[in-house]
Subunit: 506 residues, 2 copies
């Protein structure tokens, strides 16, 4: 009582402002404490005095003071009054900034931004690897001619899908809105197991199917669970850059497995590093070359994995798309020793924005993967999983796939014929009649990276074949060529696009 109280004359109340008077009082006092205007230990006027001073109800004043006491800005001493907390040191207060009031400019400069430059010592080894990542294969917002890896989303039966969505939402019960199984909805896992058994020759039970957010998350999960820092991983060279980056940046030491017209050269690869923990392959349709791996190499790789207790990661990213012949069964179905992990995605066969894929793991890995999904991830929307499961079960998926195969085959044909008529003196198409992209070798000696840059200036997206190689590969050992995605481009646009390509490539 003996100590004089401060007057809090800085509190300006405005009945027209959007925030309640309570909020205005609370914020004014809080901000003044944080800014050091109200010093620790200072006594506040009584709530009765403040009520008079501000002309607001006593309840409002008491509520604001109570909250500041609850949050520790003030403390009350029975019979003595309310004081600014003296447990906050000056030092601490200076490190903090005043709260931005509601409605303040959202895009104001953050003062921290200009001051703070991130140092590698502040992040993890993985974080440090990601600080200087190569962005060559970043996704573009809208796919255009000839962006690889994008399916014909314009052909997706949105009406069928959204009708199923409506139906599912009509039947949804509160329990369907809860967390659900970490490894994904069982109806979807059943649909996938049965689809893969019939169409891909994959042997698995539903519990071996782990739902993930797509191939990328699947590869990352496999590499995290099976590859420790420093472990060697056999990887196709040239190969799928994002998968290789995911493995290499996280932990693994990449050992390059050469690729020829039959895909990965298995014996050359395993000879380089018999102790590899994992081998990543795309046997159905080597990415980006387009080769199909023949049975003898498949068996050889399986025998190696079985002997050396290593794992095979079979990425079957676009195997559903083969034109002119039926899809080739997956390696997984030939695996008697439980060494193959099979990764697939619905991005190429339903639509990428769905963000759903799967990893089929051998029985002995089920528990480890389930635990990882529970702790480190979540398999996306449970409702979407029910929708997708119904889309498959009711035959829409099969129908859509057959239709997409026709559409993509037409687009591939338009592309190949276009190249033949306009560019046959400059480009040689390689690889099998499959997938969503086409690799073509350059006949000239010009840098494919430079051509890709020039194509970009002409409004055409393509990738340089030489950039799919591991950075350790000498330039002279790299094939020079261009990788084009034809699936997301209508035939008329393919023709137009190739005309532009013909102007640039020489």
């Amino acid at each position: 009582m003996g100590m004089p109280s401060t007057e809090l004359e800085f509190v300006r109340l405005d009945g027209r402002r959007r925030e309640a008077l309570f909020q205005q009082i609370y914020e004014s006092i809080r901000q003044s404490i944080l800014a050091g205007k109200l010093k620790p230990g200072v006594r506040l006027p009584s709530s009765r005095d403040l009520t008079q001073q501000w002309g607001v109800s006593r309840t409002t004043v008491v509520a604001a003071i109570d909250r500041l006491v609850a949050e520790g800005y003030l403390h009350s001493v029975r019979g003595s009054g309310t004081f600014v907390s003296d447990e906050m040191s000056e030092e601490c207060l200076c490190a903090s900034v005043p709260w931005t009031p509601p409605g303040a400019n959202e895009s104001q400069d953050n003062p921290a931004e200009s001051r703070n430059v991130l140092r590698t010592s502040e992040v993890s080894d993985f974080g440090a690897e990601l600080m200087s990542i190569d962005k060559v294969n970043a996704d573009t917002a809208a796919p255009e001619a000839f962006c690889p890896g994008e399916p014909a989303t314009d052909a997706f039966p949105m009406d069928v899908w959204s009708k199923i969505v409506r139906g599912v939402w009509k039947r949804v019960r509160p329990v369907d809105l809860t967390y659900g199984e970490p490894a994904g909805q069982l109806p979807l896992r059943r649909s996938i197991a049965s689809y893969l058994q019939r169409h891909r020759g994959v042997r698995c039970e539903p519990r071996q199917v782990m739902i993930v957010g797509g191939t990328q998350q699947g590869v990352d999960l496999v590499s995290r669970l099976l590859v420790s820092p420093g472990d060697r991983v056999l990887f196709e060279n040239p190969g799928y850059v994002s998968a290789r980056d995911a493995i290499e940046k996280a932990a693994g030491r990449i050992v390059c497995m050469p690729v020829d017209e039959h895909g990965a050269c298995v014996s050359a690869g395993t000879a380089l590093t018999p102790q590899a923990k994992l081998a990543y392959v795309t046997p159905s349709h080597q990415y980006p070359i387009g080769a199909t791996m023949p049975i003898e190499r498949r068996l050889e790789l399986l025998a190696w994995a079985s002997d050396s207790k290593a794992w095979i990661l079979e990425d079957d990213y676009d195997s559903e798309y083969r034109y002119g012949q039926q899809p080739i069964p997956a390696m997984q179905g030939l695996d008697a020793s439980g060494r193959v992990i099979y990764v697939g995605s619905f991005s190429k066969v339903v639509f990428p924005a769905l963000g759903l894929g799967y990893v089929i793991v051998p029985p002995q890995l089920v528990e480890v993967f389930e635990n990882a999904l529970r702790l480190a991830s979540r398999p996306g929307s449970q409702i979407d999983q029910l929708v997708l499961s119904e889309f498959i079960r009711e035959g829409h998926f099969g129908r859509h796939l057959r239709r997409m195969r026709r559409i993509h085959a037409q687009r591939r044909l338009a592309f190949v014929e276009g190249v033949r008529s306009l560019l046959s003196d400059r480009l040689t198409i390689i690889g099998s009649q499959a997938g969503l992209h086409c690799a073509a070798l350059l006949k000239s000696k010009k840098s494919d990276v430079r051509i890709v840059r020039e194509l970009g200036q002409a409004g055409i997206t393509a990738r340089a074949l030489s950039e799919y190689y591991h950075p350790s590969t000498p330039t002279k050992d790299r094939l020079k060529g261009l990788v084009f995605g034809f699936a997301c481009v209508a035939p008329a646009q393919i023709k137009k696009g190739l005309a532009k390509v013909a102007e640039v490539v020489c």
Copy 2:
């Protein structure tokens, strides 16, 4: 020509079977090669002979043979005929198994399963940690009285949500079905930034908002990017077990920060390990104790992080739910040095099955997080993100939140009153009036783990407070109590459930 050809009499064709004749021929030959019945080097009869022998069209025979050649099972020598490939060694063949024909029993025993026992040497360090994980806090399929962490999904406005879903699907363009931004849809990130600024005092721009699959994935991502193996992480003790496990199993060495009635004891924690890389805290509502961290501790933690270039992970998991007073602004808004990473989820405020949450990172971490999301993950369904963004923007989210706050407040009241009238001699409720769960201390000396087991037998879910402690904590230093979730239980069921609790707890 000189070499006799085998007769292929094992091929049995059946026009009534579902598979095409082509498929039957292909599979019969393939299986016979894999099983060693057709030896390497053996010559096949000519396609003309086979056409006659099987009574099918020559096109069918040629298609099947061509495919087997393409896959490497057979090879053709011009003028000599077609031979079983001799590049497959007997050894390799024995390692493989015959393909399971379509329609075979899906749930047949996998022969690999019984033989293969996983050894820690076959997986990564992370994988080995996950082989023997404690499943105490596993999600149950359907939440029941009194499962913590589950919101009242029965109160979710499914009609409003599914109407927005319908509307979004009507407007969806093909470009919306493509991959989209790795860090999530910008409209959603804008909605979240503006919501958090207004309601949680968070200061951020939309580009600092990373969309993830929920809190669990957010915590995992933060720990992977900032914590290297062996780095120390300050963690509340008792604390949120799944987050602690995610950090500890992946890399970090947990240093336990004691918790009292004001939440984490910051100075005690930082004194234990000044060099920690990260501190995980739940300042709004300590999990599981329920304390709110006062301002002086918040400022102290911020000053420590700023001085030692460490990070603070603020998990604001259920901060929207405070009953009787307004939510307390987040620590993130007080951070002038860009050291706070803020994690939130829509699981508690929309519904868990949505699988969407967010991480707000300081500006200097934006690029690293974007790269990680691109390489290692995908932020779930892009379409759901558009739906959620509209749900927020059109005010449904705010309305729903206010309604949920009322419902949860009623349920909390029913729970607290029930405990008071039935169990006040045995349980003391602690923590603030907030969240979806309530912790209560046991007055007796009986083991809380044993009581939880007995409650389970009586059909009641609860968690033992002592089990939220790090395993290194001596038993005598652990509070004994029960943690109940009241939010997912209707008031009438709360009463019934507590009657059962009263029978068990003594």
